[in-house]
């Protein structure tokens, strides 16, 4: 499959600071690709380079078969961009935001108007069409931003931290909309520091830290490779966690101590919990859960995604 995005040794430096440090990845048509990493990992910088608004310092980058350095307008005309910070025109109505934005792509006004109607339905904002953007909730603004990014029927939709700052319900509504796009075959590129978001939306992802790619694969692959099937979470109280972790270390191949809990990695969490109880230790709370990308990140970097 010929990729829609292809990066080789892609690098961006700002003076001394290396924001993106020689990353390689490819995105296939129709794929939903994620960049997962903590704030400051270089995700947004990568997105800006793919979006042809920031020149790479070195390396190779091809988007839709074109070089962003020479064909910025061409690439941007086929991308949909959902930025991290909303930049809707708050003085215009919801509908006018879509129409005005469509004009930037040279789309004739009647076509913009027709698409705006469809997109407002898609974003479940049809009843807000004539409302000023200022009056929308955070979740509605995000949905409008996504609708706006679709006005040019983009080949690739790029979403930078799409649900940051939204409440859980608004996040689920948004994920549902994005999932529908994915089902329709839209190529998605998503950055996120939420593991659940990455698991929900991405077919394949790269874990990024300090501008480098730490691992690559589908969420399930990454969990299989870098973690166990299950995780046992135990809380003994913040003063005892570290000491208990030492006492329990021999029960499992790998464990982690977080400020508020001890994580024991095992394929059968209940069995390990039983052995913990056999030793007469009685944690305040215990929880057996499936491994997540959070565990993968912890394994790869020694740090939590959200700190």
């Amino acid at each position: 499959m010929t990729p829609v995005i292809q990066a080789r040794a892609l690098t961006k430096t700002y003076g001394e600071l290396v924001a993106v440090d020689g990353i390689d990845f490819e995105v296939a048509p129709g794929e939903s690709f994620g960049l997962l990493g903590p704030n400051g990992a270089g995700k947004s910088t990568s997105m800006r380079m793919i979006g042809a608004v920031s020149q790479r310092t070195s390396g190779e980058l091809t988007v839709l078969g074109l070089d962003p350095d020479t064909h910025g307008p061409e690439i941007r005309s086929r991308l949909g961009v959902v930025p991290q910070e909303d930049n809707l025109d708050t003085e215009l109505t919801v509908r006018d935001n879509l129409i005005v934005y469509g004009r930037y792509f040279g789309i004739p006004r009647p076509v913009c108007a027709a698409r705006a109607t469809e997109l407002l339905d898609f974003a479940e904002l049809a009843d807000k069409a004539k409302v000023k953007v200022d009056e929308l909730s955070g979740g509605m603004k995000r949905r409008l931003t996504i609708a706006r990014a679709l006005i040019n029927e983009p080949a690739v939709l790029m979403l930078d931290e799409p649900t940051t700052g939204l409440d859980p319900q608004a996040r689920h509504v948004l994920w549902d909309r994005l999932f529908r796009l994915k089902e329709r075959g839209t190529t998605l590129v998503v950055t996120t520091h939420y593991m659940d978001e990455a698991e929900q939306l991405c077919d394949r992802l790269v874990v990024v830290d300090h501008g480098r790619i730490m691992a690559e694969g589908s969420p399930a692959d990454l969990i299989r490779t870098y973690s166990t099937r299950e995780v046992l979470e135990l809380r003994f109280g913040s003063t005892r966690n570290a000491q208990m972790a030492v006492e329990l270390a021999d029960l499992v191949d790998r464990h982690e101590v977080l400020p508020d809990r001890v994580l024991l990695y095992a394929d059968d969490g209940e069995a390990v919990l039983a052995r913990v109880r056999d030793r007469g230790l009685d944690p305040t709370t215990s929880l057996v859960r499936r491994s997540s990308l959070e565990d993968v990140f912890l394994r790869l970097t020694g740090r939590s995604l959200i700190e």
Binding site: M1, T2, V4, A28, P29, G30, G51, V53, S54, Q55, L64, G65, L66, H71, G72, P73, E74, I75, R76, S77, R78, L79, V81, P83, E85, D86, N87, L88, D89, T90, E91, L92, D96, V100, Y101, R103, Y104, F105, G106, E118, L119, F122, R148, L150, N152, E153, A155, L181, E183, R184, G185, T186
Partner: protein
Amino acid sequence: MSVDPARTATDELSYRDEALAAAVRPRRFGAWYVAEHRLRSMRAYGGTIVIGGIGQPLLYLLGIGLGLAAFLDQPIASGAHGPVSYLWFVAPALMASATITVALDEFTYAVLEGFKWRRLFWAMNASPVSPQQIATGMVIAVIGRMAFVAVAYGVLVVLFGATGSVLGALVTPFVAILGGLAFGLPLLAYSASIKNETGQFAVVQRFIFTPLFLFSGTFYPLATLPIWLQPIGWVSPLWHAAEVGRTLSYGSPPGAWPVWAHLLVLLVMAAVGWAVGRRIFVARLR
């Protein structure tokens, strides 16, 4: 929605071709799309623009024509054929000050809104239009508003008989717009360079615009001022635009600067502001 689910990898070539085709119009007309958006936003305060554009000249021309001019019994300025009425003298300067006021309105807060407060430029920037086109589009929209104000002024000037030449009055709006740009484009560049607004625009208003308005030979000939104050006029787009307008209205007295020299100063100021402004737009958005 028309996202095509049947698209496959074999379409890679068509992705490229689609992109090449899709950018043709934005590459050519991008600045006009930005102007279209900006003019649409101006509609929000369209009433102010229209009432201000017609009301201000009306008040000035009435006030000066009926009041001040009647009070001055000696002519204070001369044209090619001797002394001229005060209203004739002051009308071209008032028109130029109106376009400069538009520049002060539009090239300050609207620019910061684009870069910072509402981040509108960043949204445009993600579309096919370039930073240069964003800057150009802002200017086109402002020229539109200036043209409205200047033409409204021109019509009233003719109706009030505030000009020595109706033909000249037809050309004066163009000069006033050039004056507005000579003031406005350097201001655009300055505004684009501001990262944090901490009252700079109030400073521009009080310490640049107001002195220019008062010391640019707006209400009396520049030569009336002591020589050490006259340089304010020489660097003032208002003075240069007003002087050209006066020449168009009633000719210039002996010893006046030639029209081409005034126009040259205006063009240079506008061109430098424009070149610097575009560079700052590119630097910030790329």
